[in-house]
């Protein structure tokens, strides 16, 4: 069955610094999704990547999908307190019948 490894599990970053979160699949992906969650709230959709080598940006957040479509990275530039939360990657593939499989999440804390 498909697994989605997300790293790191948690991250403490000084405000203003850059950071990267990774998401790796054991199988080729159909779609890779990045979501953000604040405690007690629902998941907020950030970006979806489908093509190998694709890169998308939203404000100071950039996500990339590698050519093999098995690994994605989420990069935050000049982090701000508003970036704090839990980042989750989700992925679908033909093998999973296009159901979403989820990583365990990365808890991001921004130190002022």
């Amino acid at each position: 069955s498909q697994e989605l490894e997300q790293s790191p599990q948690s991250l403490i970053v000084q405000e203003g610094k850059n950071l990267t979160i990774n998401c790796t699949s054991s199988k080729t992906l159909y779609g890779l999704y990045w979501y953000k969650q604040k405690y007690g709230e629902g998941l907020i959709f950030l970006m979806m990547l489908q093509k190998g080598g694709e890169e998308k940006s939203h404000e100071k957040i950039t996500a990339k999908l590698d050519e093999k479509k098995q690994q994605s990275s989420l990069h935050i530039t000049a982090s701000q307190p508003s970036h704090a939360g839990i980042y989750l990657c989700g992925a679908s593939s033909r093998d999973s019948n296009y159901q979403l499989i989820w990583g365990a999440g990365t808890k991001l804390i921004i130190k002022p």
Binding site: M48, L88, W102
Partner: protein, 114 residues
Amino acid sequence: DARVTQTPRHKVTEMGQEVTMRCQPILGHNTVFWYRQTMMQGLELLAYFRNRAPLDDSGMPKDRFSAEMPDATLATLKIQPSEPRDSAVYFCASGFFPNRGGYTFGSGTRLTVV
């Protein structure tokens, strides 16, 4: 902005009671998911529907959980009888498949079974 609406937001109930959670997906979306989130297990898929037909409910304990979509504007998740281990946040999400964008999540129902 279109949103997925879940009710209730919070529910505290006694063990053995029936619990029903409701979800109004975004109009036009053809896929609806029910997820459960706990600290220990993270996000778990319980069931999902496409065009109102159940596609997969293998993540649900069949003896006590049931999920239905009586019409395109309503999805329900029922637990009967509820147990303390069911305490979690239950999320509904909707989207369009083949996917043209991300799936939209509701704010969740925080269930506490005492």
